[in-house]
């Protein structure tokens, strides 16, 4: 079994290059901020950033100037307000213009599925009566070959690199994820390269004891990064809570580009890696985010010799 473990610095240096399309997915949960920060630190440029919900991670990356384009479906700070850095880029070209390619959620999911299954398009019951196809000509209507009404289709999406944050994997990248699994499986299978980032590295036997929970097989994984709290201020179900205080504070902090620059200096450029970020955050803050346990019941797969 190949040991694919490496540091975040090595993984980003090896697989993420200027001009690439990068998907750091995770629907509110398991968003790998550690990877986003490392991409900022390595000063990548002209990336196409792909995510259903750009969230604070792409707000930070756009403010840092790593992106020239974004493919997305919901541009908000969930439950709080706007993504102010991305809005500044779109409305005022600050710090640089940002091209948008926009879908609905199911359209993005469909693009990942078509990409993952190598199909030319994905049909969905959406976009009829909406202006979205006019804003994005890649959303098209086709005749139903079986005689039904016209139906919307979206093209496949195959990111150059996908970063998937999860609770645990073995050293070869067999990855288990629970809680909100979002579209992590679909984007992993759609991407050309996959970096898996986990809270824990576990023995292969732990994976094999619960195979239904394996979302991503090591077969398609290029790098495994062990990065505890790598999703903060997002969360990993059962490991730590979403840092809602940070999401609320970002609404205020992100009102001015200069304040984000100062924040990036302190929390991204000013720390060499995730471990240093966590040290700066402090053990007390992390302890506050620790949930009480709520373990799943045990299922019996049976032994069949």
């Amino acid at each position: 079994m190949t040991d694919k473990r490496c540091s975040m610095r090595e993984a980003i240096a090896r697989y993420v290059h200027d001009g690439m399309s990068v998907a750091i997915e995770g629907f509110t949960a398991c968003i790998c901020f550690a990877a986003g920060h490392e991409i900022i630190r390595q000063r990548r440029r002209n990336l196409t950033l792909i995510r259903m919900t750009p969230d604070l991670i792409y707000d930070q990356m756009v403010a840092a100037g790593v992106a020239s384009k974004m493919i997305f479906s919901y541009l908000g700070n969930p439950g709080v307000g706007s993504l102010n850095a991305i809005r500044r880029a779109v409305e005022h070209g600050v710090p640089a213009p940002l091209e948008l390619e926009e879908y609905s959620h199911y359209g993005m999911v469909g693009r990942y599925i078509a990409g993952a299954t190598r199909l030319p398009f994905f049909p969905l019951r959406s976009y009829l009566g909406s202006d979205m196809p006019r804003a994005n000509p890649l959303i098209r209507m086709v005749e139903d070959p079986y005689g039904g009404a016209p139906i919307a289709v979206v093209p496949p999406l195959n990111p150059d690199v996908a970063v998937i944050h999860a609770q645990r994997a073995d050293v070869s990248g067999n990855t288990q994820l629970w809680g909100l699994i979002g579209s992590q499986k679909e984007v992993a299978f759609a991407a050309r390269r996959r970096i898996v980032v986990v809270e824990e590295i576990v023995d292969e036997a732990v994976i094999r004891a619960d195979p239904n929970r394996t979302l991503i097989p090591g077969l398609i994984v290029d790098a495994v990064v062990h990065e505890p709290y790598g999703a903060h201020p997002s969360y990993a179900q059962g490991y730590y809570d979403r840092d809602n205080q940070f999401y609320l504070a970002w609404e205020e902090l992100s009102q001015e580009h200069e304040r984000i620059v100062a924040w990036l200096d302190a929390w991204v450029y000013g720390v060499p890696d995730r471990a240093a970020y966590l040290e700066k955050l402090g053990a007390a803050r992390l302890a506050q985010l620790k949930p009480a346990p709520a373990p799943a019941g045990v299922v019996d797969y049976g032994a069949y010799q």
Partner: protein
Amino acid sequence: MSYTASELMIVAAARALAGTRTVFVGVGLPNIACNLARRTVAPDLELIYEAGVYGARPARLPLSIGDPTLVTGATAVVSQADLFGLYLQGGLVDVALLGGAQIDRFGNLNTTVIGDYTRPKVRLPGSGGACEIAANARRTFMIMRLKRRAFVNALDFVTSPGHLEGGASRQRLGLPGGGPALVITDLALFDFDNPEREMQLIATHPGVSVDQVCAEIAWDLRLASHVTETPAPTADELRIVREELDPEGTYRGREPV
């Protein structure tokens, strides 16, 4: 007993969910309304969240639509491919709650831009799941504040289809769901129960006049044959909202009407 405009909106939305089996929930007021409905008029109500949760039993008020409290204790947690494909497009959503920056007389919604799409004055969040939710849910309820700049003659951008140009235009285009059924605002309630499928005033909230409502709407508002008054929230409804669902007052507001 005094109450805020938000509390009345929450209570009105919850009452409208009476007898409903499945509801597609958003964060904020819709979330509180659905949880209130489950404790009062719709005990069998299953809460569906676009993050991939069916049958959520949130133990705390979720700030985001993907809060971990929605996962723990839920009936099922699924991928978004399954949530949108099997649950929503599969026709299992009875009512979906939506909102928007702009709405027109046929219940079409804009959550994308104010101004021109390519050079927006204000860049709004976009669709999220709203476009396919509006297409597929059996009925949609809108929860919005009644403001003239929101209730407009022509949307700057149609994100989510309502009754389109009215009448049977929605069915003609092949949209599977029934479309807008109810608009819940801080001043009044509206439905679309007429052949033109046009928004019509069905109830004003206590102390609100029809003229006040009309003043906040850009078009000539149609009135239902009997415009009633929304019953004020009961003490029990207010207790659940204040003590159980939003104890910190994040969404229910402070200013009594």
